[in-house]
């Protein structure tokens, strides 16, 4: 499986992750699909995405909003693309749309068959077992605007991912508390940092933090 989990940040901050993305893509003239978390103004996000990745000589992109109906023609092309990027936004809304359109198993199959799946913030959280991290901690969370109860996501990795992490005691307290009762490990990444999964290998890019068993660890 090939995955890239971006936390957030600007082009400059994400240079190393982008390099990893291009290495994993390893194809001439690839097709990259952009899936926004919501169609609201997603055309603008798509534009920025295209402008950014055009710098890596990628020229073929598909814009695929999923909270508006789509036809099988475009869907089949998406599933044939070389990489799919899950964008940031409201994680609850995004998951709800993915579930409504029955895309979760399709995306999982895409990744398991070797397609490159990347995600930023909400999109990265989506690759984990569930999106609990989107509602956590209380002082820095997405609003569950769609009131979904089933938070199960793609479950492609065996850790939880927390994007936009700020290294402060406020976060430390809540994440330590969380991992004291959970057997899950949380990888918390500040903007510009992230995780690259290549087959069974996992690589951290930038300064990342891990919370496990009530303790905090610094990675890199």
């Amino acid at each position: 499986m090939n995955l890239v989990l971006y936390s957030g940040g600007d082009e400059k901050e994400n240079q190393d992750l982008d390099r990893a993305f291009i290495e994993l893509l390893a194809k001439k003239n690839p097709v990259v699909t952009f899936i926004p978390s919501s169609s609201y103004l997603s055309e603008q996000e798509f534009k920025s995405f295209v402008r950014h990745y055009s710098k890596f000589k990628i020229t073929r992109f598909i814009h695929f909003p999923i909270d508006v109906p789509f036809d099988n023609i475009i869907f089949n092309e998406v599933m044939r693309s070389d990489a799919i990027h899950l964008a940031g936004g409201n994680t609850f809304y995004f998951l709800n749309s993915l579930r409504k359109t029955k895309l979760l198993p399709q995306l999982k199959a895409f990744a398991q068959k070797g397609g490159l799946l990347t995600g930023l913030s909400a999109g990265a959280i989506m690759m984990t077992e569930n999106i609990e991290m989107a509602g956590y901690p209380e002082f820095d969370r997405d609003e569950n605007i769609v009131n979904i109860k089933n938070l199960a996501a793609l479950n492609l990795v065996d850790f939880l991912f927390f994007p936009h992490f700020r290294n402060s005691s406020r976060y430390d307290v809540v994440f330590k508390k969380y991992t004291r009762t959970s057997n899950k490990i949380i990888y918390a990444c500040p903007d510009g940092a992230g995780i690259v999964v290549r087959g069974n290998e996992i690589r951290f890019v930038g300064k990342c933090y891990a919370f496990s068993g009530g303790h905090k660890f610094i990675i890199n």
């Binding site: 603008q44 073929r60 598909i62 605007i145």
Partner: protein, 611 residues
Amino acid sequence: MNQIKKCHTDEVGKRSYTNFAHLNGEHPFKKLVPGGRVEYKARYRKGGKVAFFNFDLAKEMGLIAKTHPHTLTPDLEKEILETFSLTIINEYDVINKVKFPEEDIFPNTFMATRYLQLQHPDKMGRTSGDGRTIWNGTVRHNGTTWDVSSCGTGGTKLSPACNINKKFYQTGDPSISYGCGLSEVAEGLETLFFSEVLGKNGFKTERVLAILEFDKGIGINVRANPNLIRPSHFFGHLKQGNLETLKQVSDYYISRQSENKAWEQTSFKSDKEKYFYMANQVARALAETAAKFEDEYIFCWLDWDGDNILMDGGIIDYGSIRQFGLFHAEYRYDDVQRFSTTILEQRQKARYMVQCFVQIADFLSTKKKRSLSHFKNHPIMQSFDKHFVDCKNRNLLQKIGFKKNHVEHLLKNHISKVTKFRKVFSYFERAKSKRGAYKVPDGINRDALFCMRDILRELPQLYLARNTNLSCQEFTEIIKSSYARKSDLKLTNLRKKQINRFQSQYFSLIATLEKDLDLSKGQQLLELTMRASVINKYDRVTGDSITYIVQKVQKLRPKLACHELFELSQQFTVYQNLNPDQKVVAHQAPERHKNIMQNFHSIVRECREGL
């Protein structure tokens, strides 16, 4: 009620709301076109609240300072109410000697203008005009003079009810609806949401400055535009052969256009040159508007009276305005006594209006009124026809997503290719359901089958990804609308030919630019993918969606403050801005607004193919 303004301040010590003082009933039209208006005394109307205020427009008009926060301060609210909360003292009040406290009566009169309206039995414009509207006045700011008028300020003698029933009505008389002189807050909200969206998308339109609210959903809707004169303001006097007033209206209108620098030419060697220049300007504006209405599926009920439209083709009176999701070219609104025109008939109505303006120019120059048919083949009419077709071609290339310079290149050098593509595009756009015409809640319609926005949005990215044409089945799958039945979608030989033609001609435009301008096909398709995704976005507002959104807003309104309604209208406009060149910045909206906006999105999505 004292109209001498106290100086409320919007920035302590720096600037006051003094510009509101110009909106006191005084208007140059009153003096310059005495035969074109009726004057009314007015009284302050108590119990009003400001439901909406357009802070951005007020800044553009110089009514509030640029730095004014988007908050309705007590002083600003007072100023708005003191300026706009009024009811005219009409003929009924005078005849019945209805008494009003002296201090509530405004010192100046307010005018209602005369214009032709087809629903009046007279059909000559002698009795018709503003039936429930008065003009508040003008404000000038940054080189532009703005007209401001208010709808719902009482029944005038120019209303259809007065003339059909031959009696004067008391304002608010419950025995009649439209003629009672009042307006509803919902009408103002419809105009607000629609006009802000259309305005942002390049339509000329009236705009809502404020909505005042009274008991039982009654409101006063204040609108503004740099020139609120309509063709119908001329046509009544033309029909009557009233040269003097027709000349006054024309001179008044031309002088405002010059004052606002709306026209390139501002000085003229002769009257003849001046009036024919005006006719030419109207021809260009109405050709552009008629083409844009057709291409953006705007139903405006253009008709021979020249009502419902401003002289520059701007939209006024949103009561009958609709934007269809598909090209429902046979929809007719049922107005009880008559059916409206269809979208396709609007061109002929616009053409008729232009012909009237040629007749006006000739009448004013020669002082002889020749028959309208005499001008059927006047060069201005030919210029209207040509400009209409030019605009249709330009509109289509823009809808595909081509950049401005590429559009111009294709129009200038490869018009036959553009025309060919437009022909095949129209084949699909105008395809109609086998079901035939049927009754819809407010009229009749025959469904369109295909959603052209969908194919223009998806085609470039599918080509980009696959580098092959779509099969006929795939093409149909993408373009079909929810109105299409199985029998409508049968792949006949003709349909197959047209699908192939559509794709080959689409590609031929791209290949032409590749050859002429050295732009790679991939580069172009990527650019088209990005631009078409904005221009042809899945969710585009329709008339039905605006109606439902306004119903939603009405339910929420008791808890929506004036500034919140303003913010929502702005957010909605940003979401519906289909200009691919505009840098869109999403508003940082509070959580509550996000939920409301989600609701609006669902409504727009739900109604996207409808009327």
